[in-house]
Each structure stands twice: as C-alpha cells, then as structure tokens.
Symmetry: none
Subunit: 89 residues, 4 copies
DNA sequence: TGGACGAATGGGCGCC
DNA sequence: GGCGCCCATTCGTCCA
C-alpha cells in the first residue's frame, strides 16, 4: 500500500494551518531577502554605469568567469568518474 | 554637448581594469548570496514537502498573499491621495 | 494609434482557420521529426551501453565539449565588444 | 556466469577511446539536428505571430490534437484486442 | 515592444 | 513499480 504523505485531516486544521503558515512565512522572508539582493545588484550595475562601464560587458565577463568555475568543477567530476571506472579511486 | 560617461581610454587600462574588476567582484559576491538564498528556499519547500505539503499549493498561497499586500498598499495610496485632495492630510 | 496585429475578423473565419491550421501542421511535422531524433539519440546511448560505455559518462563528456564550444563563442563576443568599446572594430 | 558488458580495460585505452569518441560524435551530430529543428519550430511560431496568431494558443491546440491522436490509437488497440479475443482478427 | 533572464512545470530516467 | 532527481521546455518579468 503506497504510503503517500498524510493528507490534511479534519480536526488537525488549526495545527496544520499553523504549520503551513510557518513554512509560508519562512519562504516569504527569504524571498524578501533575495529581492533585496537583486536590488543591490542593480545598484552596483547602475554605479558601474555611472563610472563609464557597460552592464552588457560586465554581464559577459561575469558569465565567462562563472563558466570557468563550472567547467573546472565538471572536469574534475569527469576525471573522478574515469578514475573510478578504472578502479583507481 | 551631452556629457555621456567617459568611454574607457587607452592608457587608463590598468586603473580602469582594477575598477571594473572591483565592480565585477561585488556583483559576483551578491550573486552568490542570492544563489544561497534560492537554495535555502528550495530547502524550505523540501522540508514542507516532507511534512505533507505540496510546493505548488504553497507557491499559489504565497502569490496570493503577495498580491494582497500590493493591493493593500495601492489602496492606501489612493486613500491618501483622496485625503490630501480634501486637505485632510 | 498602435497597430496591433489584426484580430481575427468575423467572415474571415474559414480562411483564418485554414491559415492557422497550416501553421499548426507545420509545427506538428517538425515536432515529429524532433521526436524521431530524440529516439535516435536514445538508440545511440543504448548501443553504447551495449558496448560497455556508461551513458552518464558520455553525457558528461558531451556537456564539457558543448561548454567548450559555447565558451569559445562567448569569449569571441566579449573580445569583439571590448574592441568595439575601444573604437577598434 | 553472467556476461555483463566488458568494463573498459587498461591497455585497450586507444581503441576504446576511438570507440567512445565515435558514439559521442554520433550523439552530438543528432543533437545538432535536433537543435536545428527546435529553431525551425521557433521560426514557425514567429511567423505565425507575425500573422496575428498567439503562440500560447497554438501550443494549446497542438497539445489537444496530440492527446486526441493518442486516444484514438489507444481505442483502436482496445478494439483490436476485443476483435482478436473474438477470433475475428 | 521585443529580447534576455530566472523561475516553474512537466517528462524521462535510474535507483531502490 | 513507485519515488525522487535531472533536464528540457515554457512561462513570467525586467530591461533596453
């Protein structure tokens, strides 16, 4: 018998609601922080623009650097997989 | 003559580069924090799921509450405008 | 007066319907071809698996090679942008 | 003794590598074709849009027709099974 | 207003 | 055979 997560039960409404509310509020709080960071980032771009830099260029640079990091990590993974496949890890 | 921000000049390369680098790194730092928050949010959804709540529903709830807040604020603004128009504010 | 694309007019129903149908059928045909390719790809992975290769590893390799190509293209773009910013392009 | 596919052996590296490379390139080729088709599909949607049709609606239509086709096929299968059960097929 | 970006949904896949 | 993860596509939002 598949044990799906308990559906909300009558009688548990209030406690359940409180539980749900807590989760919802945690998410909302985090989302607010996230939005604040987004605004900060925009601010930095605006400041950079005021100093003669182009946002498009900056984004391109950042993307490259990001890809570099990702690529390094992934290459490491591939290497590990190959080593593991050879029984050397 | 409209004074648009100075384009990068040859000869300023090093100082300019340092300047650009600073902006780039500030953005990258903020982006990392933002990503961390995104992950936290996912964590909360996962935890909620483990307690029998559905992420999709939660998102719907959060969207509604968000709209409500916006609506309230807007209504407050309208009210303030009316009061101001009546010289009561 | 903003000229938004003509809304379907009463009386044009049949011609309009024929027009829409033509677009829909073109998309459907292309989607079928695409699905066929997806199946081919699965076939190749299956064949490779039959020869002792692991799909996960292959995917990792392909992803890396793909990133390489992308990265090259993007770096070229960044270079072009920098050159353009210096008035050298 | 169950003959599971040979794991890559040390000493077979080069031939193995060539083999793997062949599979990888076949996949990459197919993926490119697939991407080309995706782009074609986008092109059709763009063209339709230019003729006043909405992509979202078109997608809905296509989805419905797809489901219909599936349903028809399934019903046909059921019918065939019944006919076969009656020795009429 | 169209394009770019991030988030969200749905489907495919392997694991248990 | 169900479950959770991962990827592809799609949808909404923001900026130019």
């Amino acid at each position: 018998m598949p044990r799906q997560p308990e559906a909300p039960k009558i009688g548990d409404n209030s406690v359940n609601g409180a539980h749900l509310r807590a989760f919802v509020e945690r998410v909302e709080r985090l989302e607010e922080d996230k939005k604040a960071l987004s605004d900060d980032i925009k601010g930095v771009y605006a400041e950079a623009k005021g100093n003669g830099f182009d946002a498009k260029q900056m984004r391109a640079v950042i993307r490259i650097r990001w890809q570099d990091r990702d690529k390094r990590r992934e290459e490491q993974e591939v290497l590990d997989m190959h080593l593991a496949a050879l029984g050397l890890l």
